[in-house]
Amino acid sequence: MEFMKPGAFKDNARAALADQDLRSAMTMLSTGMIPNRQGAVDRLPEFEKLSQRGRELKDHVLAHLDFYLERFERNCKAAGGHVHWCATAEDARREVLEICRSVDAKTVTKGKSMIAEEIHLNEFLEQHHIEPIETDLGEYIIQLAEEPPSHIIGPAIHKTKDQVSDLFLKHHAKLGRTERQTEPQKLVNEAREILRQKYFDADVGITGANYLIAETGSSIIVTNEGNGDLTQTLPKIHIVVTSLEKVVPTLEDATTFLRILARSATGQEFSAYTTISTGPRQDGDMDGPEEYHVILLDNGRSAMLGSEVQDMLRCIRCGACMNHCPVYQSVGGHTYGTVYVGPMGAVLSPALLGVAETKHLPCASTLCGRCEEVCPVSIPLPRLLRQWRQRAFEAGDVPSLERWGLSVWAFFAKRPWLYGLGARLAMRGLAYLGRDRGRMRKLWFAGGWTDGRDLPAPEGQTFQERWRKQQRERAAS
């Protein structure tokens, strides 16, 4: 599968559907992530109210984003930290490189960060002869596999255990580990032992941030493995790569989000490690970094403010929308060809990369609405997906056959009697074609449907006929 090409969505999807390993890995979503989240939500009666408050807080922050960012900067500096404002991905990469060069860094350990993925930081560091070492187990796995993440919180969710066993054997044999491990515990341990020394040797540690606190100038990371904490505590320099919309006013406000984040993401009551970091090590501290830098990335976000996709800036990156998406469940994250995947990715990517390049993504949805139902900050994802479809249509990015089809449909839709007649004729025709088996194996112009499954033959009346009949019966009763 070709990675990072959103234009190849259709080809990617075809390949993904035929990939048995991927399908078996993805079934774990419905047996694990979905019931886990539901359990955690059910155990906290106040979840809905917290979620509502979280939504209001995000809207409040977005309306006053300049104020809260300036306040964050002032307090971060007061605590001895540095803030780097970066309008573009290129600016952010340059700032990171300059900081790394100030200590002549050879290796950089990294905690999980979607912003680092967004700015393609690893490739850039490698080009400049600095070795990035991913320490989150999922990120470590995909770094070995030379693949991008396929899920925003479980980057290697597409890999089966057997694939991880093979990958570790291939890459760790040269380190003297020539036995192929098959138990998850042994695989976890192998990665733990290999990464241990690297944490201590790294010159710079890079993490992301789930939140920035304006009141204290702090950043927060939420993790389970402890890798983020080792990454940001042991090297001389801690760099936080993050984006504008992560700022919240106070510790108390951050707390509201912390109560909904883990529950929505992994179905945990609280992740194992929630760490608030403020500035570098202080007088008397025996460990911790000597410098603390925050890279504040814009990269298209300021332009989303005040636009019809502003609601997307509320996203807290929990991944619930993709876990519950029937399209994501079937094709996995790599099919999208973008850093952000699933419903949130299909809304965010056109804003970051442009509609022309990503026009297939908003169409990779049945608009079933489950994403919006489970979104802890009520982002109207289906509405935003429709908006992008409309934009692509207006921009002429829709192929002429599709436009022609839509205008034919529009012609009938504007003339209800003709539409009704057409629907009746089409239905009777299809019922006749499928009269023997009750379904059709092949149908002209509908290969996209019938290649994968049979089309059931219609029976009875059209929807409009049934609707009218029901209305008449209601009126009569």
């Binding site: 001895g80 700032e95 402890g226």
Partner: protein, 255 residues
């Protein structure tokens, strides 16, 4: 936060062009200039008041209920928990725990006055040292600033007596927590922190506030939960019952 500390001495300069461009773009998108002094006053008040938004019912209750909930929630995330009558029993409790679980007996203690004041010499089984964690350290014993009942979460603050590495590097982590430090909800920890680190009208944050809920874990291989990913493989909590009549161990808060 106090704003009177000096800024960074060296390191890269602030990217002023980027700053102006981003703030300008934000204001343009929002369709307004920089906020007026009046508008800012309202927002400053929001920060200064730092009100709790909504505290779940499970974060409230009497002392006994909160301690019970803390224990249950911590055990639900694979912590082991025991209670001792007073701090003097801590060294023996640590020795017994390590022996019973067949764990190493070389222990790194947080260089904390309260811990140092206990009789570790009396435990012939234990070899103790104190300081930050080195790569070969296998067991650490640290105090905590608070325990939070709503999720069984321990809160540790970094500081001279409390190196952060002790919470993450060793394979086995033992935390000593007087029950008087257990609170119901996270917001109570922030109130404690604001009071303990008060400076002028504000307060200072330590480099790290570590909220720890169970030992290290991962589900990155086939969504199977495994403990001991990169941080501690086990987390043992020794509760010290300092609230029952007649037992007080004095001030044990980290500051």
């Amino acid at each position: 936060m106090s704003d009177n500390k000096s800024g960074p001495k060296n390191g890269p300069k602030t990217n002023n062009a980027g700053r102006a461009a981003i703030l300008g773009a934000i204001r343009q998108s929002l369709g307004r200039p920089e906020l007026s002094t009046d508008a800012k006053r309202g927002l400053n008040e929001h920060i200064a008041k730092h009100r709790a938004n909504l505290v779940p019912a499970r974060g409230k209750g009497d002392r006994a209920a909160l301690i019970k909930r803390f224990r249950e929630m911590a055990e639900a995330v694979s912590c082991t928990v025991e209670t001792v009558a007073d701090a003097a029993h801590l060294p023996a409790a640590v020795a017994d725990y390590l022996r019973a679980n067949n764990l190493p007996t070389q222990v790194t203690l947080a260089p904390d006055e309260w811990l140092a004041g206990l009789d570790w010499e009396g435990q012939s089984l234990l070899e103790t040292k104190s300081g930050a964690a080195g790569i070969d350290d296998l067991v650490s014993v640290t105090p905590a600033f608070a325990g939070v009942a709503e999720t069984g979460t321990l809160v540790a603050l970094s500081g001279a007596g409390h190196p952060t590495t002790l919470n993450f590097v060793p394979d086995y982590h033992v935390v000593a927590l007087p029950t008087s430090q257990i609170v119901g909800a996270y917001e109570e920890v922030w109130a404690k922190l604001r009071k303990a680190n008060k400076v002028g009208r504000g307060f200072t944050m330590p480099r790290n506030v570590n909220m720890i809920t169970g030992p290290s874990r991962t589900a990155d291989i086939a969504l199977t939960i495994e403990l001991g990913a990169h941080g501690p493989r086990s987390l043992h909590i020794v509760l010290i019952d300092d609230e029952t009549a007649g037992e007080t161990d004095g001030e044990t808060e980290q500051a």
